[in-house]
Symmetry: C2
Subunit: 336 residues, 2 copies
């Protein structure tokens, strides 16, 4: 009996020791969790499992550091894109600032619509109207002057719903994810339909992504010597649209390697996810951010003008992409 009681006691001690050890590990894990804004759901598990698979020494799916390229869409994937794209809000504000120099805009579309706040008439001006709006507000100055205009605007503009600067409306779980990937030897790139020179002035500070790792749409620029000073002048002519089938083209042009992980949120990202994950290699990660949280942000997918997620959502289940449910998978959306 004595011996048995001793055994039971030592077993209980052992159990307590194991529990204590587990609690210690759990606490250490919680403290060092690189993704604290993510709930412990299947989405987080899929991302962490992928990273461990490609970085683990001796893992059959190990990928050397230089090939660890991860690409991120921007609008709707890293920061908000509703009620309208932030760059469109910038263009509308620029029209108002420039209007006094253009009295004719009071009677000319799409400017009239912008000045009257008539978004329906603006939408009716179609792609032609939108391009004219972008060219008028984004061209006709040097690249460095444009950079200053963007920086100044972001410093003062506020989002209509959250009343915060736009650069604070970046998704905290995604900012953590960018840092987590870099800590694991990834090079993180932005691949956005948005303007490359609209993103570069702030992407390094906000996302930790340096200018040379930002890919985006662009207008043509021209080298000019002005008073013995070299400048790059922004012309009212489209150079490249980094959206849909343009994204793999932009990636190949600027990176020259195929990514091993891609993060998007709309049909504009479909081909980027295909290009990344469907090359026959086993260890590839495709992720779609699904906007499901009307309380903390917005809920939209198939029926929206900005960031429509339809074909890509259908493709996700076939291709095995991870669909992040913002409401269920994220502890917080923005940093407090």
């Amino acid at each position: 009996m004595f011996a048995i009681q001793d055994f039971i006691k030592s077993a209980r001690d052992g159990t307590l020791a194991v529990i204590a050890a587990l609690l210690f590990v759990a606490s250490a894990y919680a403290q060092s969790d690189p993704l604290p804004s993510w709930n412990d759901t299947a989405s987080k598990a899929a991302i962490v499992s992928f990273v461990e698979k490609v970085t683990g020494q001796g893992s059959p799916d190990f990928i050397p550091e230089p090939e660890r390229v991860a690409v991120f869409d921007n609008d709707g994937t890293l920061w908000v894109e509703h009620p309208i794209y932030i760059q469109l809000a910038f263009a509308l504000d620029r029209v108002k600032v420039l209007a006094p120099q253009h009295p004719e805009w009071k009677e000319t579309q799409p400017f009239k619509a912008v000045l009257e706040g008539d978004l329906k008439a603006l939408a009716a001006s179609g792609e032609k109207g939108l391009v004219e709006l972008i060219m008028t507000t984004h061209a006709g100055m040097t690249s460095s002057d444009f950079q200053k205009i963007v920086t100044d605007w972001l410093a003062s503009a506020r989002d209509p719903k959250f009343k915060r600067p736009y650069t604070e409306l970046v998704y905290q779980p995604m900012v953590e994810l960018l840092a987590y990937l870099r800590a694991n030897g990834f090079k993180t790139f932005i691949v956005s339909g948005g303007g490359i020179e609209f993103m570069r002035p702030w992407a390094e500070k906000v996302y930790g992504v340096p200018p040379e790792q930002v890919i985006g749409s662009s207008i043509k620029t021209e080298f000019r010597m002005q008073d013995n000073t070299p400048t790059l002048y922004r012309l009212p002519e489209v150079n490249f649209i980094d959206d849909k089938a343009g994204k793999p083209v932009g990636i190949n042009q600027q990176i020259g390697r195929r990514p091993i992980a891609a993060f998007g949120n709309s049909d504009g990202d479909l081909q980027m996810l295909q290009w990344t994950t469907m090359a026959g290699a086993p260890a590839r990660l495709g992720v779609l951010i699904h906007h499901t949280d009307s309380d903390r942000e917005y809920a939209y997918d198939r029926d929206t003008e900005f960031g429509r997620l339809d074909k890509a959502l259908d493709a996700a289940s076939i291709a095995g992409w991870t669909v992040v449910d913002m409401k269920a998978d994220w502890k917080q959306v923005f940093k407090d």
Copy 2:
């Protein structure tokens, strides 16, 4: 007398000790000299002085690491460009390989000229002929197929003068310079008029420059899903010419920062050196490689079809650029 002799003796010992110390330092310096293929001339001194100025802690010209961007032309700056550009030799060889599938080429310029080895007739076909030659040999396949064609060709092709693979005809002093700059926190980029997808397959191995740091001319590519496999297909249409005034444009498009050091060898690099050095900032480095060594390589400048150095040479003395005299400044041209 005794005391004085002792004094002289100890002074002599001291001198010997100083000489020994100097010899030791010189030997340690020689061993750790990061630019052993450079003679100790003004060119080397200018480069080293610039690097120490921008990297020295507390230096008034200190530049943080992320801004230490150095750009290098390729043809004639990092590897040989005579008797003809290596990529042109590739195109001529491709015409010969593809000729059996194109019997009509025997009677059609510029292909007839290539097949008959008539470089004069080829030159007479002008830019139009050259573009046709490039499109025929560089388009009509996927990017990954083109990469394989380039890699296979470089493995077997030999330079007519040196009888060595082209990838061995890179300038050893420049390879050392690339490594020296990287060791000092610089990011090194290639900015070449040559084809971006012609350089990327070998630039990392040969220069230590990864694909995402290669900028060059390009043709358009198109994203295509073929049998459920995503590909990028190379189209016979010019996308971007990364030469002359195109170089600052390409740099801005792909890097998004202004370089602080630029290395070129021809008028094609003039605007890149202007863009780098003439922005008003004090610590900027512009370097031109002057081909002056007909024994070990070639001697040419104002009168050549490939790599003409004329306007840029005139500009160098006004702008304060360093002109490297290959014959005088380089201990060796190629690695033995």
